[in-house]
């Protein structure tokens, strides 16, 4: 039964995405400035695309230790654990491969040679990230580069949720670019609906979910891909093979946006059978459920995902 409550919404452009906040109509408009400020702070301090952010400095000074802060260290430790749990299919040092495939070139896109892929893949290894917790020092290997695209928006959402809860907001939803959606609920409004469609423009509806104090994260290749010799290549590249995944979509429900975004990215590189198996171990450790639409359009749900479908 849909709620009849009224909400105020504001949408702003951050992290190369439209970020929409929706909260009770009783709040003054000025609250949006305060809330978006949290996101802007994360963007300036932790986005690798922001000049002189912690991750930009780590990349600039590859091979040397860089002073960061406690959040950077905690975040890196969490991401390294998830990478371990995903058998290395999620790796924040994948940037050299993304460059090799030409995602930062305007034209002349070519399929890289196997030799080039093998040469670059040697620099893709999250286990080379060194952390000295005493002093929050972080170092990546020479020729390594961290890309924050798969987690910085989710990190900002987690920080925002924390901030919203601390100021007493108990009914709200954050839609960060359609790929990270966090629902905050109370007893009078126990869940928020989310519409999941096929991962293509004008795609058919797949199903509607209802989530409560949880995040829905999704990865797809719809808008970020390369077309080489008439074939589309996804921006999600397997750090182990060096080739883009051919799956169509992965959706994950989690309690923590960083966990959800990282897992949905990593599982995008799994086939449907290994996805189902991996989800069993992940759901026990992280309280996550999800689904995958593979390259043939086949949908596989994790064991308890269907409880979210309405």
């Amino acid at each position: 039964m849909p709620s009849s409550l009224l909400y105020k919404t504001q949408t702003r452009w951050l992290f190369h995405s439209h970020i929409k906040l929706k909260l009770s109509i009783f709040y003054d408009d000025s609250i949006f400035d305060e809330l978006f400020e949290t996101l802007e702070e994360v963007n300036s301090k932790y986005n690798s695309y922001t000049k002189d952010s912690y991750f930009d400095l780590i990349n600039q000074r590859a091979g040397r230790f860089v002073s960061t802060d406690g959040h950077t260290v905690a975040l890196l430790k969490k991401l390294i654990t998830i990478s371990d749990d995903l058998d290395g299919e999620f790796d924040i040092t994948v940037m050299p491969l993304i460059r090799l495939w030409g995602f930062y070139k305007e034209n002349n896109h070519l399929i890289p040679s196997t030799e080039d892929i093998q040469a670059v893949i040697e620099n893709v290894d999250y286990s080379n990230i060194s952390i000295q917790e005493n002093g929050n020092q972080v170092r990546v290997g020479v020729k390594q580069e961290i890309i924050t695209g798969a987690f910085v928006k989710a990190f900002a959402v987690d920080r925002l949720v924390e901030n919203m809860k601390s100021i007493g907001i108990t009914d709200a939803i954050i839609n960060a670019g359609g790929s990270t959606i966090y629902a905050i609920n109370n007893e009078s409004h126990p869940s928020w609906p989310i519409q999941v469609d096929e991962a293509r423009k004008g795609g058919n509806p797949l199903f509607q979910l209802r989530i409560s104090n949880e995040c829905y994260s999704t990865s797809s290749s719809e808008n970020t891909y390369l077309e080489i010799e008439g074939k589309r290549y996804s921006h999600i590249i397997s750090p182990k093979t060096g080739y883009p995944s051919e799956n169509k979509q992965v959706g994950i429900v989690s309690r923590d946006a960083v966990v959800g975004d990282a897992i949905s990215t990593g599982l995008f590189n799994f086939d449907k059978d290994s996805f189902a198996k991996k989800m069993r171990s992940l759901s026990t450790k992280y309280e996550v459920e999800g689904f995958i639409v593979d390259k043939n359009g086949e949908i596989v749900f994790s064991d308890n995902f269907e409880k979210y479908i309405v």
Binding site: P2, S3, S4, L5, L6, Y7, K8, T9, Q10, T11, R12, H16, S17, H18, K20, K22, I25, D29, F32, I173, N175, G177, G178, S179, I181, H189, W192, P193, I194, Q195, V196, D197, A199, K201, Q208, Y216, T218, S219, S220, E222, N223, T224, Q249, G251
Partner: protein, 134 residues
Amino acid sequence: MSQIKKILLYLIGVGLLIFGNRDVLAKISTKKVESAEKELKPDLKAFSKPKDSVRREAIKVVEKKNDALLDSIHAATTAKVSQKAKAKELKKAEQKKKKSEVVVAGVQNEAEKVEEAPKTKVEKEEPEKAHGTE
């Protein structure tokens, strides 16, 4: 000259003085003096002629100088006036331009503000679209 004529001339002179026609009065009084001089001292003409001509020449010179001076003053004043007018016009034009620039800038700023200012909308609970395209 009879006394009546003299009285009449005097009255006319007084009348002219009252009505301010000094030139006529001057002519009359000069004639009167000249005729009186002719009558009393005819030799004085010989002495006064060169003096008058010298005076006239001097006056002419002074007048010429004055005219030249006046001309130069006039020219300078005209130049100054035209310069001032030009400066004023320029200033006005600049002010007008600045004003129009301010207006344009203001309009642009307002437009930017409109674009920049986030709009608050009111919505009910509607399904958020998940697409993973951004």
